[in-house]
């Protein structure tokens, strides 16, 4: 096991965004995190990273540190007007070794060059990130993930707004990470993609609806229940009586 949630409730100002979730995620799992908008998917990823503290319950990492987690933010969370080159952006993936103050060594530069090459970004090194298309920028962020060499990889909507060819290439990279034993949790909206590529799924609608093998989770009944729960959520609810 790499990650365990024990009766976790995450939220903002006492309103639960994720309500009483208990799951165990095994090392090497490739898992999709699905649910309607506002279901708490991004909040759960932030909870895994320690950026949102549980209102109740606990999240435990087994045999890894927070620094062993790599996170892909939603594309619109990155300020692409910032005057940074592709190479500088991808080099940030070495942070775990270089820290805030260390310099890039030869092996780091080689890793960055290899990641850029693998993502088809050779020749883009000096380009500013502001000049890239959405798909190219997503490749840059994946290259940074590749350089991070993390055991647990969290992807927040990695294919939103990305063309089919880039999606295919990035999906191929995710599958290669999975084959090398990494644990990957991805927030996704394309249910066909989830069924085709992700063996495990967690269907969330603020409350956990189903967790396990994707075909068992993504049933019509479960999805209907998820939508009803999400739409019926009461922002003026009384204090929770769950034990």
């Amino acid at each position: 096991m790499i990650l365990e949630c024990d009766n976790v409730t995450l939220g903002y100002e006492l309103h639960p965004a994720v309500h009483h979730l208990s799951i165990q995620i095994e090392r090497g799992t490739l898992m999709a995190l699905v649910g309607p908008n506002g279901a708490g998917k991004t909040t759960l990823l932030k909870g895994f990273m320690g950026q949102v503290s549980p209102l109740e319950g606990s999240i435990t990492l087994h045999d890894i540190q927070r620094s062993d987690i790599a996170y892909l933010p939603q594309l619109n969370q990155v300020d692409r007007s910032f005057p940074l080159s592709v190479q500088e952006m991808v080099s940030l993936g070495t942070w775990r070794e270089t820290g805030a103050f260390g310099r890039l060594r030869k092996q780091h530069k080689q890793r960055v060059a290899s990641a850029l090459n693998q993502l088809g970004l050779s020749g883009f090194e000096k380009r500013l990130i502001g000049s890239l298309s959405g798909g190219q920028m997503q490749r840059v962020l994946f290259a940074r993930l590749l350089v991070q060499e993390a055991d647990l990889i969290l992807l927040d909507e990695p294919f939103t707004g990305i063309d089919s060819r880039t999606t295919h290439d990035l999906m191929h990279l995710i599958e290669s990470w999975h084959q090398s034993g990494k644990t990957i949790i991805a927030v996704l909206h394309d249910l066909d993609q989830v069924k085709n590529h992700f063996p495990h799924s967690l269907l969330l609608s603020r409350e956990p609806i189903a967790y396990g093998a994707t075909n068992d989770v993504l049933t019509k009944e479960n999805w209907l229940k998820a939508r009803q729960l999400n739409e019926a959520f009461d922002e003026h609810a009384d204090h929770c009586g769950h034990d």
Partner: protein, 274 residues
Amino acid sequence: MQRALMGCLAISVSAAPIGVFLMLRRMSLTGDAMAHAILPGAAVGFLVAGLSIEAMTIGGIVAGCLVAVLSGLVSRLTDVAEDASMAAFYLISLSVGVLIISVNGSQVDLLHVLFGSALALNNDALYLLAGICTVTLFALAILFRPLVVECMDSQFLQSVSRLSPLAHFSFLVLVVLNLVGGFNALGTLMSVGMMILPSASARYWVKGLDMLLVLSCLLAIISCYAGLLLSYHVGWPTSPSIILILGSFYVLSFLFGMNGSMMSKLSKPKHLSA
């Protein structure tokens, strides 16, 4: 005149890079708000020790840091965004400052604090400016990477380190330090111009962060030199002269700069083949 030049050069090298980060963090007006926020501290220093640089500087630093920390705390503990809480605190701070000076000082004193007097810089003020410049450059060198990542992709910084709040608050302290240093030479209201105008002008000429930092410093240095010469020969006050030179650079830049200026938008050069 030599002291004025030395002091202005020190604050140029120090404040211009801070201004680049203020602009990139979309906090240009925060610099202006902080410039107003240091006023009551300087006023209390003036009240206690007269026109003493040490007392006014310490007062300014305390008031600026207090406003920065309080606005940050209020925005984190309540539903109000940081820009709104900073606006509230700087306005309170400014009114307290003007009140203290108006009740206890003369209009001349108020003008000195608001608009500075580079030609009156003494040895103590020069040491202070040199000290602030040194501290700022060392701190920027140390905080450079966290600051860059915090500006561009704060979630990544939060995922790989716990330096995000440290980078944010340290940066605000550097803003306060430079404003306080600047008000001795340029006054509280003008010192923010030394931060914002060089970086806003440089953005029209260069694209990379390193060149942005270098060009901002160069523009600030040239403006100080030219502004002091203008002030000497025409008999104008120093700080508006320096800021007007910087303002001229800005106008030229947004008219004729190479990146996104009005000229580059209006001219339609032949497009490339691929």
